[in-house]
């Protein structure tokens, strides 16, 4: 399984990378533009990401915009919603409007920092993502 962590903060990136490593191959994007480029490259190589952990407040292009773009690209490519990449927002932002916007634009889950291993695993399980056999 391919996973993309989109984070502009080094500590958060490292933590997510370590927590998600047992689940598959973890790639990193440090801003929204890199994230979109990685997403599109994976799609063109027919090796799409199964999961994206997406920060919201980032320079240039924020996570909400990246989320909208990805869903737009999937729709344009004829990818059914149920077959699209699972997206978990990982952020400090917890105001109701931002959370509502993220779900309106079809994120699957919203985790508020600080990151918690138990909550992350619980969320992954809920999304049907489990550890590969032997991990």
């Amino acid at each position: 399984m391919k996973i993309l962590v989109v984070e502009d903060d080094f500590t958060s990136r490292l933590l997510l990378q370590k927590l998600l490593a047992p689940y598959g191959e973890v790639h990193i994007a440090i801003n929204g533009r890199e994230a979109l480029a990685a997403f599109q490259m994976a799609q063109s190589e027919r090796a799409p990401y199964a999961l994206i952990c997406l920060d919201i407040v980032m320079p240039d292009m924020d996570g909400q915009m990246v989320l909208r773009e990805i869903r737009g690209l999937e729709e344009a490519a004829g990818i059914a919603r149920k077959d699209g990449v699972k997206i978990i927002m990982t952020t400090v932002v917890q105001d109701p409007l931002t959370i509502m916007n993220a779900f309106t634009h079809q994120c699957e889950a919203y985790l508020v920092k600080p990151l918690d291993k138990g909550k992350l695993i619980e969320t992954l399980n809920r999304l049907g993502i489990s550890l590969p056999k032997g991990a």
Binding site: D8, D9, F10, T11, S12, L14, L15, K18, L19, D55, V57, M58, P59, T91, V92, V93, K113, P114, L115, D116, K117, G118
Partner: protein, 150 residues
């Protein structure tokens, strides 16, 4: 170890600030500089991972503070807001509660446009980062001479 943000660092209301100060900047008087138990609980007692992220944070935080200082010097409100927000997320991940509170105060204060006060807060943030690192060393999380590497 607790850290009294209100008394030990900067008074919540900026001196000479005539603008109303947002009520939600009020915080509990005692905030841990490092809530070790919280970090270990969130990482399911994985001490190796905890140390890894602490070393990473300690090695990265000064560069982030320099970025904030530069943004303050340029009076770049959007950049200060974003950088303080990012620092808050980063500090929360390592349970650096006093730094989280101070970064939040910067985020709130910037909205009032009191650049002098924000500048003072950034100095307090730097002192808080030094204190955090000292606590990590005291507790053996950051070996003497160890340099965190981003």
């Amino acid at each position: 170890m607790t850290f009294n943000v209100q008394v030990g660092l900067t008074p919540l209301a900026p001196k000479g600030c005539s603008m109303p100060f947002p009520d939600d900047t009020a915080m509990a008087p005692d905030v841990d500089i490092f809530d070790e138990m919280d970090l270990l609980r969130r990482l399911a007692d994985d001490r190796v991972l905890a140390q890894e992220v602490l070393i990473a944070f300690a090695g990265d935080v000064r560069a982030r503070l320099v970025e904030i200082e530069t943004a303050v010097a340029k009076r770049d409100l959007a950049a200060v807001r974003r950088l303080a927000h990012t620092l808050r997320g980063s500090a929360s991940n390592v349970s650096a509660d006093a730094l989280v509170a101070m970064a939040r105060l910067v985020e709130k204060s910037i909205e009032l446009g009191d650049w002098k006060y924000v500048g003072e807060l950034v100095l307090e943030l730097k002192a808080g980062a030094d204190r955090f690192e000292a606590v990590l060393r005291d507790r053996g999380w950051l070996p003497e001479g160890e340099e965190g590497a981003p």
